[in-house]
């Protein structure tokens, strides 16, 4: 029982990181119907940016987090501006290929600057609390609470501000929105800023929780987060969060009870089966077009 509880805590930690990244995929897809395959690499850049400001500027946790979020937000906005916006009217496939290209660029750019894996120095005092045999670390608490806070902020923005209404409107009909007096490009930039910022924050937390960061770390984690978004119902914000936590839980529980090499194999088989029965994802709705 305590073992299970312990693993649940680990699952929450991993799940919140997946969920934060999945939000970036889902937001961009939600408004532009485009899959930003460079998003996993935004996550990686977040980890490295954090490493740089902590190692070379000795920033403490909160300022480092702020700089990471702002830096990766800017990266997202710039990438959208120079690489994706010119392709907005182009076939979706071209935009997706561009996104893959941006991802490879970011990986190799980082590799050129830092050929060896790095590790982020401890940023918060490591404290462990043991309650009834279950160990809770200060890092776990921070990761889970910070993720929930960021996700709530995002939820609030999307549901209760004029920018959020504009995002949801763009998702329905991007060509109609300008006729309401809404500058679409600005809303798209804000969307990229928010999504990338969350991805960057996830990169930092991942780097704090796991021993090494390397330029390719965003690939597999990015794929997993993307799959979380699809499982939850891509384009659906609550779905991305749900998908992230589900994937985190499946991975941790599989590793807990089966040989750890089975982890990805079992986790992905389960997700594939789920998609067969819910092709639009758990919370996704098929959007019927009138014929």
């Amino acid at each position: 029982m305590t073992y299970l509880l312990q693993q649940t805590l680990n699952a929450l930690q991993l799940g919140s990181i997946y969920a934060l990244i999945a939000l970036g995929y889902t937001m961009v897809y939600g408004i532009l119907r485009m899959i930003n395959f460079a998003h996993g690499d935004f996550f990686m850049v977040g980890a490295f940016l954090c490493f740089v400001v902590v190692t070379f500027m000795q920033l403490p946790f909160a300022p480092a987090l702020l700089v990471t979020i702002i830096g990766v937000s800017l990266l997202g906005v710039i990438v959208e501006r120079i690489a994706y916006r010119p392709l907005r009217q182009a076939p979706r496939v071209s935009a997706i290929i561009t996104a893959l290209g941006v991802g490879i660029f970011l990986e190799n750019f980082t590799l050129a600057l830092s050929p060896y894996p790095k590790s982020i120095p401890p940023l918060i005092p490591a404290v462990n609390w043991t309650i009834g045999g279950v160990t809770l670390s200060s890092l776990q608490v921070i990761i889970v609470f910070l993720s929930i806070a960021l996700m709530s902020a995002l939820h609030f923005i999307v549901q209760h501000t004029r920018v959020g209404i504009a995002m949801r409107a763009i998702s329905w009909d991007i060509n109609l929105v300008p006729l309401m007096g809404v500058p679409v490009n600005r809303i798209v930039s804000i969307t990229f800023a928010l999504g990338s910022g969350l991805g960057g924050a996830a990169g930092m937390m991942y780097g704090m929780a796991y021993p090494v960061i390397d330029p390719y770390m965003g690939i597999l984690v990015g794929w997993k987060a993307f799959i979380s978004a699809v499982v939850g119902g891509i384009g659906n914000i609550r779905g991305a969060v749900l998908g992230g936590f589900i994937l985190g839980a499946v991975e941790i529980l599989v590793a807990a009870f089966l040989p750890s090499t089975y982890r990805d194999f079992v986790a992905f088989s389960l997700l594939l089966i789920l998609l067969v029965f819910r092709p639009h994802g758990i919370l996704g709705k098929p959007r019927s077009q009138k014929v």
């Binding site: 209760h160 409107a169 009909d173 060509n175 309401m180 007096g181 500058p183």
Partner: protein, 262 residues
């Protein structure tokens, strides 16, 4: 001074000339109708005025400033709003949010203020929601504010589209076939409705319509388009008696009116 001045506008799609050398001048608070067969270039004109298309040639001025080359959202915030032939609402959003989004230009607060629930955020959002509900109440739709727009009946969707256009505080309202899909009785009510918003909101209205009864009854002036050129212009009475108009609508053979096409 005219509110809208369209001068010598030409626009073509590939080899097809949708509008050629088109001129139109609207005075403040006029109610003008554009008629003409399908494909005459009427909706193209609306798309040019609202900045969806950019004319190949010519100029469009609104209240003295040039519109060509401006982005659609700028043009909307300058005071031009429109509706569509086939209703285009944000079907997945609530009725209230469909109106709230039209207030975008009128609100100013920073994201930080929004997240902290402080400063201008509360006051601004409250003001927008209040104004939206007021506007909905004015059109007897406030009880539907939490309904999803896509679930409304056809007639209510048409009405909501006009309310949404009015929420952007236009001086000029462009109505694209407002009577499409309506029966005689509904058209009667629509005519009253257009007259009412015309005076109540002190609007200048330009409307496209095929329903002759509607345009003949409410428009002060009509412009007849065919194959991208103006073939006639005048009061409804003058248009009714115009040979060329009858021909372009009915073909040269069918001059005896009365019966009509089945």
């Amino acid at each position: 001074m005219p509110l809208l001045n369209v001068t010598d506008v030409t626009h073509s799609f590939g080899g097809l000339c949708a509008l050629s050398g088109f001129n139109l001048s609207l005075n403040p608070s006029e109610l003008v109708g554009i008629i003409g067969p399908n494909g005459a270039g009427k909706t193209t004109l609306f798309n040019l005025i609202t900045g969806i298309y950019r004319p190949d040639k010519g100029s469009i001025a609104f209240g003295g400033s040039e519109l060509t080359g401006r982005r659609p959202y700028k043009i909307t915030s300058m005071g031009i709003a429109r509706t569509f032939q086939n209703i285009r609402l944000f079907n997945e959003l609530t009725v209230l949010d469909n109106i709230r989004i039209a207030h975008y230009t009128g609100s100013r607060y920073s994201p930080v203020e929004a997240l902290l629930h402080a400063g201008r955020y509360r006051a601004e959002e409250r003001r927008i929601i209040d104004r939206s509900l007021e506007l909905l109440a004015f059109f007897e739709m406030d009880h539907l504010s939490v309904e999803t727009a896509g679930n409304l009946s056809y007639g209510l969707q048409r009405r909501l589209e006009i309310v949404r256009a009015l929420a952007t505080k236009p001086q000029l309202l462009l109505l694209d076939e407002p009577a499409a899909g309506m029966n005689t009785k509904e058209i009667d009510r629509l005519m009253e409705f257009i007259r009412w918003i015309h005076s109540e909101f002190k609007l200048t209205i330009l409307l496209i319509e095929h329903q002759m009864r509607l345009v003949m009854n409410i428009c002060e002036r009509l412009v007849v388009l065919d194959f991208g050129v103006t073939i006639a212009e005048g009061t409804p009475r003058q248009i009714q008696d115009n040979q060329q108009v009858l021909e372009s609508y009915l073909g040269p053979k069918n001059l005896e009116l009365g019966g009509g096409l089945q």
